[in-house]
């Protein structure tokens, strides 16, 4: 039986066992970022809330995974330390939703996604699959045994 490792909001976890399943609940404008190396059998899942740590640098020291920029830096560093190989890296992302009532104020999801893309581009990494935007909340899972990245929203579940 697989063990569920729950990743809380503004947090990240790494799994190295085939039995593990990383899961994070209720992504709104937040991003659920899964980074996986099928050869090394290493994967990580992050649930980050806000685009840039410059909004609160002090908080970023305590809670780096609250922000896309500091979260990605530390997540990748820890994954590489654990043996992740860049050439085998598979990156998938979900979340970044926006409210049904479109307005310019609540653009946090869009900003999260933009900062994420920029970070990957600077680091020479690519997104393999994504399911972002829309006015839905999502729960995501990364199955270590298969590398499947599953998204659950309003009663249905699918893989990307």
């Amino acid at each position: 039986m697989g063990k569920n490792i729950v990743v809380d909001i503004a947090d990240m976890a790494i799994a190295t066992s085939k039995d593990d399943i990383l899961v994070t609940y209720s992504l709104g404008s937040c991003l659920g970022i899964a980074i996986y190396d099928p050869v090394a059998g290493i994967g990580g899942l992050m649930h980050c809330m806000l685009p840039l740590s410059s909004v609160d640098p002090e908080k970023a020291k305590d809670r780096p995974f609250m922000f896309v920029d500091t979260g990605m830096t530390i997540m990748l560093t820890q994954l590489f330390e654990a043996g992740l190989v860049k050439a085998n890296t598979v990156i998938k992302v979900a979340g970044g939703a926006k409210l049904l009532d479109k307005n310019d104020l609540f653009r946090i999801g869009e900003r999260n996604y933009t900062v994420f893309r920029k970070f990957l581009w600077k680091n020479g990494l690519m997104i393999k699959a994504e399911n972002v935007g829309g006015d839905i909340t999502r729960t995501v899972r990364l199955e270590m045994a298969t590398g499947r990245f599953l998204i659950k929203s309003s009663g249905s579940e699918w893989e990307i």
Binding site: I9, S26, L27, C30, M49, L50, F106, G109
Partner: protein
Amino acid sequence: MNSSAKEITREIELFPAMPALCKFVSTHLNDPNVDFKMIAEELKYDPGMTANILKLANSAYFGAAGRVTSLQTAIARVGMKRMFQLVIASGFSKTLVKPLSGYNLRPEELLMHSVFVAVASEELARVTGIHPPDLLFTAGLLHDMGKVIMDKHVEKAVSIFSEKANKEQAFFDVLEKEILGMCHAEAGGTLLEQWKFPHELISAARFHHDPAKASVEDIMLVNIVHISDMLSYSEGIGAGIDGFRYRTSREAISSLGLKTSILEMVTSHSMDKVEELEKVLCGESGRVVKKEKNVRKFH
């Protein structure tokens, strides 16, 4: 009034009474000169609540400097007004912690949402330079009480809700009104009114999705609770089946002079405090324990 609305109204009338102490405190929320002995007398028979209140008084959020171990010192440190808010928070956490299957909220989700709105409201006032109204925290905490009553009715009609939501792109409170004859905001407002809560709390519950309808006296407080509520949903905290389906008041945005960067700052300043208070209000939950385990393993 349709039959669901009639039933909901009756359920509000029959809703279990508040803990005795909350009842006492609720009528004195704006009256900080009440005799402390009366509170101490009530609390003598409720060790659970006493312990909770001391924990809250010792939290970083309520900011007592140094550790307080008695109610007397707690009141001296946090003040009587804050003490009343702690009593209310502690008393209502048991109701708010339960799962709501109609709204698709797991256990603790409504509590986390309520605490987020309470904390973010005070933070939003601070960041925008507004002197926070006394009851802002409690107004945020209790704004969604109506959901507790509405939940089983939403659950019964959930297929109608999802069908209409997909087809019409309608806002959820509008659907509640259309399908059940009443929305959760109205139900909550009516409940707090029946309990004779101060008008600020009734307005925040009743108008948090339609702040323009609040009285001139309450509108600033309701605007703040409304924006914090939308921010919580946007972050996925307590969003359930309804969270992304409410409208944001343009008047509230402009009257508070809001920008995206302000909301991001409020979110970042609020999260630790929300988690701290939620932990106290839930007791030592499995969720928190798990979190600490992750931190040990990977940092």
